[in-house]
């Protein structure tokens, strides 16, 4: 239980970090960052073999955010994990910032790929997984994709290759928050059944509530889901999770808050951190 509480607390602090970036830039892809941030937190604080002091350590596990627009989630977690000082979060979106609106591996330690154009992450990750295995490295590779990016055909090229090469050290988490910029994902282009499609491509699959830390930890402990197969975790999530006024709102996909709304976001994320700290006696 302590493990779950700890990760929930870290995730709450990371949500606060996300809002801190919006305070700096007054805009950002908020909704998707908040829907996937629980799994990103759990990966960096519980699962992955990484060392923030040696971000390029050869044996490290790798994390790629295929849905690069959700980068505030990764920036928030990397800062919390100690990859760089939290003050850097205040440069988000500023001229020359190491935190651009889509991540750049040459600007920030901990970033593995320059994602943002959708449908690239899984191919790069499959290549990393293939290379690590070929080098005899113990590294596992984790990817978060958005549900809205699944119609990109390149995903399915990567899905075929990962299965053909039996990359069971590769896990893809689909952040199925159900909303994209034009509306409901199933109205824009229905890719359901997502897990069924990956299953047909030869992946082992699982479905969880992606904002429930105990379910996240539960599935992380089961990886790989099946020996010899890449793993697909379909995470049912809530866009804008953690901000009462943003949850399940398409409008928070790219958020440009007014002053009042921003104050409310600060207050709600602060309160969430305070509550978890009081409960845990931290």
């Amino acid at each position: 239980m302590e493990r779950i509480r700890y990760l929930e607390w870290k995730a709450a602090r990371c949500r606060r970090n996300v809002v801190r970036m919006v305070e700096a830039s007054h805009h950002g892809h908020l909704g998707g960052a908040l829907s996937c941030i629980d799994v990103v937190t759990a990966l960096y604080f519980d699962k992955m073999k990484v060392d923030p002091k040696q971000p390029r350590m050869e044996t490290r596990d790798r994390f790629l955010l295929s849905a690069g627009h959700k980068c505030m989630a990764q920036y928030a977690v990397l800062a919390e994990r100690g990859y760089f000082p939290k003050e850097v979060l205040d440069t988000y979106g500023q001229l020359g910032s190491p935190l651009p609106g889509h991540p750049d591996m040459h600007k920030l330690p901990g970033i593995e790929a320059n994602t943002g154009a959708l449908g690239h992450g899984m191919s790069i990750a499959a290549g990393i997984a293939l290379g690590c295995r070929s080098q005899g490295l113990p590294s596992n590779v984790y990817v978060v994709t958005g549900d809205g990016e699944l119609p990109e055909g390149s995903n399915w090229e990567a899905a075929s290759a990962a299965s053909y090469y039996r990359l069971d050290h590769l896990t893809v988490f689909v952040d199925n928050n159900g909303l994209q910029i034009s509306g409901g994902v199933r109205d824009v282009m229905d890719m359901s059944p997502i897990a069924g499609r990956f299953g047909a491509f030869g992946w082992a699959t699982a479905e969880i509530d992606g904002n429930d830390m105990s379910q996240i930890v539960g599935v992380l402990d089961r990886l790989p889901l099946e020996s010899g197969k890449p793993s697909l975790v379909l995470m049912h999530t809530v866009k804008g999770k953690g901000l009462s006024f943003a949850e399940n709102q398409v409008s928070c996909h790219f958020w440009s808050p007014g002053e009042e709304e921003l104050k409310r976001a600060v207050a709600e994320t602060d309160a969430a951190v305070d509550r978890l700290e009081q409960e845990a006696g931290r």
Binding site: D104, M105, H106, E112, A113, N114, G116, A117, H120, M122, S123, I124, A125, A126, G127, I128, A129, L130, G131, C132, S134, Q135, L137, G153, S154, E157, A158, S160, A161, Y164, Y165
Partner: protein
């Protein structure tokens, strides 16, 4: 041996195979394209370093990027349009923007897949590849240069695009080190400079002989690195002869002709005549007839040069 005709794909595959014996980081990726790129032997000898993916050039480009992050040097060769146009965004972001040490080779470049159809032609590859910052664009001119260019490409740290042809081409040069970014004066002359690149070089040399028979002295420059440009060499020749012709199996816009025009325009404004293909979907047919149709045979090139200088 000078004058011997060789298959460029086999020369390329053999060269990479030999270099891979010395460097275990080199791996070969195939999109159902490896064997026709001359990697049949490599695949048999090094099954652990030969990755077949089937026809998925976008995916393979991303996978190559990922492999490179683990220290591999991936070489991916397939039909030119499918490793340049088809996967352009992957090339730009996953290789260029990520600065990955990946080597992409377009075979059967230009319209060497003559009668197979316009979908299989690649007449814009120099142009679009040089628009990706940090990408080196190579077009070796004969079998010897294919081998030396392959070595230089693999020794260069960063993304490289190299175009080779398909039909056999003659050996033009003795073996010599290939320096990326450097062209060479193949023949000295005073009336006009002719700059060429790629496997059309032998045809251009024939054309130059015809031009010289008409009493025109030609400074001939071979430019096996399309990009980055050898500005110094171009400017020196332009200043010497006062007029420049470019010849390439590529659209007149965007490739060598544009590069030379840009360099001369800024550094030594002289008339520049670009010989290449008009910006259109070109017709199909046997390769030699196609070349003649677009005035890219020796006679056609000679006619264009003479018309320009007279």
């Amino acid at each position: 041996m000078i004058g011997e005709w060789k298959d460029p794909r086999k020369e390329f595959g053999r060269a990479v195979g030999e270099l891979a014996e010395q460097d275990e980081r080199i791996v070969v990726l195939s999109a159902d394209s490896g064997k026709s790129a001359g990697f049949g032997e490599f695949a048999k000898k090094h099954p652990d370093r030969y990755f077949e993916f089937g026809i998925m050039e976008q995916g393979v480009t991303g996978i190559a990027s990922g492999l490179a992050t683990t220290g591999k040097i991936p070489v991916f060769c397939a039909i030119a349009p499918f490793v340049t146009c088809r996967n352009y965004e992957m090339f730009r972001n996953d290789l260029g923007y990520m600065r990955q040490n990946v080597k992409i080779v377009g075979r059967n470049g230009g319209f060497t897949y003559s009668d197979l159809g316009t979908t299989h032609h690649s007449l814009e590859d120099y142009a679009i590849m040089r628009m990706i910052p940090g990408v080196v664009v190579l077009a070796p001119q004969d079998p010897t240069e294919i081998r030396s260019a392959a070595k230089a490409m693999l020794e260069h740290e960063g993304p490289v695009y190299m175009r080779i042809g398909g039909p056999k081409i003659p050996v033009l040069f003795e073996d010599r080190p290939f320096e990326i970014g450097k062209g060479a004066v193949l023949q000295e002359g005073g009336d006009v400079t002719v700059v060429t690149t790629g496997y059309i070089a032998s045809v251009v040399m024939d054309a130059v002989r015809k031009v010289e028979k008409e009493g025109v002295s030609v400074e001939l420059i071979g430019m096996p690195t399309v990009w980055p440009a050898d500005r110094e060499l171009i400017l020196r020749a332009a200043a010497k002869t006062g007029r420049v012709v470019t010849v390439e199996e590529h659209y007149e816009v965007g490739g060598l002709g544009s590069i030379v025009s840009e360099v001369c325009g800024e550094g030594c404004p002289v008339p520049v005549k670009r010989i290449g293909l008009p910006l259109a979907y070109c017709t199909t047919g046997p390769y030699d007839q196609l070349c003649a149709n677009y005035h890219l045979d020796a006679e056609g090139i000679a006619r264009s040069i003479l018309k320009f200088v007279r």
